[in-house]
């Protein structure tokens, strides 16, 4: 997408209407599958549906996932503020400082280091 403005374009109206129709259709199909008994659906010839168990299980799974997400995100947010004494990221010491430490501070220190 080149720009993210909120202008009402004709293409966006079409996208919105298609989304509306498909979501309404999906919801009513879910309701039909959940409530109409198997025998009626089989008599119509529609036999290949998932088990009715999932009509209850999937929403419960989604709900629990959302609740767990809330709890873990909020706990992690607390943890992230207590990281002052963590191990700092890896970086290079500039060569000037290395030289000063080796050669300028004390000659005895250097000979001790290299022996």
């Amino acid at each position: 997408m080149v720009e993210n403005s909120l202008t009402p374009l004709p293409e966006r109206a079409i996208y919105g209407f298609v989304l509306f129709l498909s979501s309404q259709f999906g919801f009513r199909l879910f309701l039909v599958w959940a409530f109409v008994p198997e025998s009626w659906l089989n008599s119509l010839g529609l036999t290949f549906w998932p088990q009715k168990y999932w009509a209850v299980a999937l929403p419960v799974y989604l709900l629990i996932a959302v609740l767990m997400g809330y709890t873990t995100m909020l706990k992690n947010q607390e943890q992230k503020n207590h990281q002052e004494d963590a191990i700092p990221a890896l970086r290079d010491i500039p060569i000037s400082e290395v030289n000063k430490m080796f050669f300028l501070e004390a000659k005895e220190l250097y000979t001790q280091n290299c022996v």
Binding site: N99, F103, L104
Partner: protein
Amino acid sequence: MEDERSFLDICGGPLTLRRRYYSSYCREFGLSSARLSLRSVTAVTCTVWLVAYGLFTLFENSMILSSAIFITILGLLGYLHFVKIDQETLLIIDSLGIQMTSSYASGKESTTFIEMDKVKDVIVNEAIYMKVIYYLCILLKDPVKPHEISQVVPVFQSTKPRLDCLIEVYRSCQEILARQKATSASP
């Protein structure tokens, strides 16, 4: 004030470091390596002429002998003028710059001057060849971007002193550079 000490280069040959402190902000370091020895010149000349004489007895052509003489003379002159560096000096003048001079055995001198604006620091860096070799180099910065290193210029490339000599030069240079940074930081 003048000071002279002898050191070794990385191949084991003798070097002489001559330090002259002209004033508190101007210092010069001259490193002289051993001059061309008569022994090596006669050895090379003898081998070349013996080889030429051997070819002459093989081919019976006297051009070989005269060409060997020419090659020896021209080779010696070229070596003295282009290859053999007798002395390398480093002159640091606070707030002006750094000048490097190489004087060849034939008397030729080539100088390089770097302004103090471009000099970021003088450091002793390590290179890993068959062993670890230390060399003094000047870090250059672009005046537009003062926190980036734009170039690295090695110093004393032909005389190649060892670390003890480099530490002396490094300490003297750092004294001058510290003064220069102090004066430039407080306008």
